[in-house]
C-alpha cells in the first residue's frame, strides 16, 4: 500500500488532469486558428477570382480547390461571375458560381 501511495500520489493525478485539460484547450485553439486561416484562404482566393473574372479569364485551370458551377446551388459561394457573349445579333448571358471543394 505504501508503494501504491508513493506511485499514485495526488500531485500526479492533478498534473495528469491539468495536462489533459491543456491538451484539449490547445486542440480547440488550434482548430479555431485553422478555421481563421481557412477564412483567410477563401478571402484571398475570392480576391484572385475577382480579378480573374474582371479580366474575363475565369477558369479552374491550376486551381484544384475550387469548382465552377453555372448556377447558384447554395449560398456558400466564393464569387459569382457574369458572362455576356454575342450570339448573332442577340446577347446571351450566363453566370459562373465558384465554390470551394
Amino acid at each position: 500500500m505504501a508503494l501504491a501511495n508513493s506511485l499514485v500520489f495526488p500531485d500526479l493525478l492533478i498534473s495528469i488532469t491539468l495536462i489533459v485539460v491543456i491538451l484539449v484547450l490547445t486542440i480547440y485553439l488550434v482548430n479555431l486558428l485553422m478555421k481563421l486561416s481557412m477564412i483567410d484562404y477563401k478571402a484571398s482566393m475570392g480576391t484572385y477570382l475577382f480579378v480573374a473574372c474582371q479580366l474575363g479569364n475565369l477558369s479552374d485551370n491550376g486551381l484544384s480547390h475550387i469548382i465552377i458551377m453555372n448556377k447558384l446551388v447554395s449560398s456558400n459561394y466564393l464569387i459569382i461571375c457574369p458572362r455576356i457573349v454575342v450570339n448573332g445579333s442577340q446577347l446571351t448571358s450566363s453566370i459562373y458560381v465558384v465554390y470551394t471543394r
Binding site: 495536462i19 485539460v21 478555421k35 481563421l36 475577382f50 459561394y77 454575342v86 446577347l91
Partner: protein, 264 residues
C-alpha cells in the same frame, strides 16, 4: 508543486481561446458580408463592362440588318431590338443569381449624329441598400438613321409617276435621265446607282403635240460608302411616265429607254 506553475499557462490559454472565438465570429460574419458585397459589386460592374464590350458587335450586326432592309428595319427597330436583347441578358443574370442584383433599363435611344450612329442605354442595378446607374454608349461609324430615311425618301420619290415635256424624243430621253439623276443626287455617305429601263408607246397625237405613255422598271442599288458590312440594298420597282412632245412626231410609235444614273 507542479500544478501551481501550470495555472498561469492555463489562464493564458483560456484568454487566448476567448479572443480567438470572438475573432473567429467577427471575421466570419465580416467575410460573409464582404463576399456578398463583393459579388454584388462584381455582378453589376462586370455586367456593365461586358455589355460595353459586346454591344458594339451587336450594333454592327443590327446595322447590317438595316443596310439590307432599310425600308422596314429602321433606326427605331435597332433601338427596340437591342434594348430587348440587353433586357434578356440582364434578366437571365438576375434569375440565375436568385435576384442578388436586379437590373432595369431606365432609358434608351438611337440617333444619328454626323457620320456616326449612337446607341445609348441607361441601366439601373438595384442592390439591397443602394443602386448603381450606368450609361452605356456604343457607336457605329455610319449614320444609319439618315441612311434609312434617305432610302425611304428615294424609294417614295420613285413611286410617283413623272411627266416630261420635251421638244423631241432625244430631248425627252435626256430629260428622263436628268430627272432620275436628280432623284438620286443626294449628298451623303452612300453610293447610289439607279438602273432603269422603260418602253413608251404613243397614245395620242395632234398637230402640235404627241403623247407617249410608258412604264419604267428600275433597280435602285444603295450601299454605304464604308465597308463595315458588305451588304447592298436593292430595291426594284416600276413607275408610270408620260412624255409630251411639243410637236407632231411623224413615225415613232414606240421608243425605249435604258440607262443608269448615280449620285457621283
Amino acid at each position: 508543486m507542479i500544478y501551481k506553475s501550470l495555472l498561469p499557462i492555463l489562464i493564458i490559454l483560456l484568454i487566448m481561446i476567448v479572443i480567438t472565438t470572438y475573432l473567429m465570429h467577427y471575421v466570419s460574419t465580416e467575410t460573409a458580408k464582404a463576399i456578398i458585397l463583393e459579388n454584388k459589386y462584381l455582378l453589376s460592374i462586370n455586367t456593365f463592362r461586358q455589355l460595353n464590350e459586346t454591344l458594339p458587335q451587336v450594333l454592327q450586326n443590327r446595322a447590317c440588318m438595316l443596310i439590307v432592309n432599310p425600308i422596314n428595319y429602321t433606326c427605331n427597330s435597332i433601338a427596340i431590338d437591342m434594348t430587348n436583347s440587353v433586357n434578356n441578358a440582364l434578366s437571365t443574370i438576375s434569375n440565375k443569381t436568385n435576384n442578388l442584383v436586379i437590373y432595369r433599363v431606365v432609358n434608351y435611344t438611337v440617333y444619328g449624329s454626323g457620320n456616326i450612329t449612337i446607341y445609348r442605354v441607361s441601366i439601373n442595378a438595384f442592390i439591397q441598400s443602394s443602386n448603381i446607374e450606368r450609361t452605356i454608349t456604343v457607336s457605329y461609324p455610319f449614320n444609319l438613321c439618315y441612311y434609312s430615311q434617305l432610302v425611304r425618301e428615294i424609294s417614295n420619290s420613285l413611286g410617283d409617276g413623272i411627266t416630261i415635256n420635251a421638244n423631241n424624243i432625244t430631248d425627252a430621253i435626256w430629260k428622263i435621265n436628268n430627272g432620275l439623276a436628280n432623284k438620286v443626287a443626294y449628298h451623303g455617305q452612300s453610293r447610289i446607282i439607279l438602273y432603269y429601263t422603260g418602253v413608251f408607246s404613243m397614245i395620242k397625237r395632234t398637230h402640235n403635240y404627241t403623247v407617249y405613255s410608258g412604264s419604267i422598271n428600275y433597280v435602285l442599288s444603295i450601299s454605304p460608302n464604308i465597308n463595315t458590312c458588305n451588304e447592298t440594298t436593292e430595291i426594284t420597282g416600276e413607275f408610270h411616265a408620260t412624255v409630251i412632245i411639243n410637236a407632231f412626231v411623224n413615225n415613232t410609235y414606240y421608243f425605249s429607254i435604258n440607262g443608269a444614273v448615280s449620285n457621283n
